[in-house]
């Protein structure tokens, strides 16, 4: 896990201690909207990166955390989500372990708490989502396919589900990071539509009839 958070937890006048461990926290890694004409599949392969928010609090109590900075998480195994049939409106999630750290510094003296991921714990979970508005459409014939990987990431503002332990969910920017991909196979003539532009550059894409 690489860390780009603001507080200098590794400063020579600071030391950190783990005060709590939260295993099996859900991270949204992608989303699939197949419509009536497509099948979809997400692959989140070994080494795929996601950028997630880091929780920050002075008191460390439930409800006192806010998001401050981000850190990068990497999968250490491939997560193969099953093929999704027509009519799927789902967010695809996997699990990471998180820890709460107490950072204590001297010269000057201050302390704070951080919550951030420490390991990939794999697993698959699908949760029903809501289809985004996507009006930049391209037609695709039956038998065609589209695979998108890397690139324009979309930030789920509450994509890391940790509110039960710190009071807020944190962001996750998964999109199609380095080794993750989304594939749509057209089983009938249909369209693939982007939310902010066409499918090659869009933040999010949706299959439609």
């Amino acid at each position: 896990m690489s860390d780009s958070t603001i507080p200098p937890a590794t400063d020579k006048f600071c030391f950190s201690s783990v005060v709590a461990t939260y295993n099996n926290r859900q991270h949204i890694v992608s989303e699939v909207y197949t419509g009536p004409s497509a099948e979809g599949r997400v692959t989140y392969t070994y080494g795929a990166d996601s950028t997630v928010g880091v929780g920050f609090s002075v008191s460390g109590t439930y409800g006192s955390f806010e998001q401050s900075g981000t850190t990068t998480t990497s999968s250490s195994a491939t997560v193969g989500f099953p093929v999704q049939g027509p009519g799927t409106v789902e967010t695809m999630r996997t699990y990471f372990g998180w820890k709460k750290y107490h950072i204590q510094c001297s010269q000057p003296s201050y302390s704070y708490y951080q919550v951030k991921p420490y390991e990939f714990q794999a697993g698959i979970l699908q949760v029903q989502g809501a289809t985004p508005t996507a009006n930049y459409c391209h037609s695709y014939p039956e038998g065609s396919y589209l695979i998108r990987s890397t690139g324009t990431a979309y930030t789920f503002s509450t994509g890391v589900k940790v509110s039960s332990v710190i009071g807020i969910d944190l962001s996750s920017r998964t999109g199609f990071a380095s080794d993750a991909s989304l594939r749509y196979d057209m089983i009938h003539n249909g369209r693939i539509c982007g939310t902010n532009t066409y499918e090659g550059s869009a933040q999010r894409i949706v299959a439609k009839g």
Binding site: Y136, C137, H138, S139, Y140, P141, G143, S144, Y145, L146, I147, R148, S149, T150, G151, T152, F176, R191, I192, T197, Y198, E199, G200, S201
Partner: protein, 173 residues
């Protein structure tokens, strides 16, 4: 040749060399311009051998205040395909297509590629679609590995290869 003349010629030679370097720098293409793409995309569809098909590609939107003039479009790593032509249009007003049979595609207004412009962000449309006509050679899959675009914006010249690829294959029996 006197020392003075030698110094004069040396000065003229240096100035000429600097001028050549400056001209080369002005004409050189930069990468990572406003039409560069970070998302890798592969599309594919079944296309009978010797039949024409269309691959519609919308260039990344122009989010700047200046229009982008397309200088050239070159298809990279073309195998098992004959490229018929590359046309252009405004997908928002003249019709959009991802993949389709026939070329030029039915129902779309199209224009020759030379002189095409990606409009500035302030315009009604900020998109330019390339319509790439292909014929698959018999007996093999066909593919295009990427799209190299050279373009100019506000006097700056750019060259980017879009990591967008096409595969065409035999329809199922």
């Amino acid at each position: 040749m006197s020392l003075r003349n030698r110094a004069l010629w040396l000065g003229i030679g240096s100035a000429a060399a600097l001028l050549v370097v400056a001209i080369l720098m002005l004409n050189r293409y930069q990468s990572g311009g406003p039409l560069s793409a970070v998302t890798e995309l592969e599309v594919g569809f079944p296309l009978p051998a010797r039949s024409p098909g269309t691959w519609g590609v919308v260039l990344p939107p122009n989010d700047s205040a200046a229009p982008i003039a397309i200088e050239s479009v070159e298809l990279v790593d073309v195998e098992g395909l004959e490229v018929i032509d590359i046309l252009a249009n405004d997908p928002d007003r003249e019709g959009a297509i991802g993949l389709g049979y026939g070329f030029p595609p039915d129902g779309l207004e199209t224009h020759p590629l030379p002189g095409s412009v990606v409009p500035a962000a302030s315009g009604a449309s900020r998109h330019l679609q390339l319509l790439i006509g292909v014929i698959r050679s018999s007996g093999s899959d066909g593919s295009i590995g990427g799209i190299r675009v050279r373009y100019t914006r506000a006097g700056e010249r750019f060259e980017d290869v879009l990591p967008w690829s096409l595969r065409v294959f035999d329809p199922p029996a």
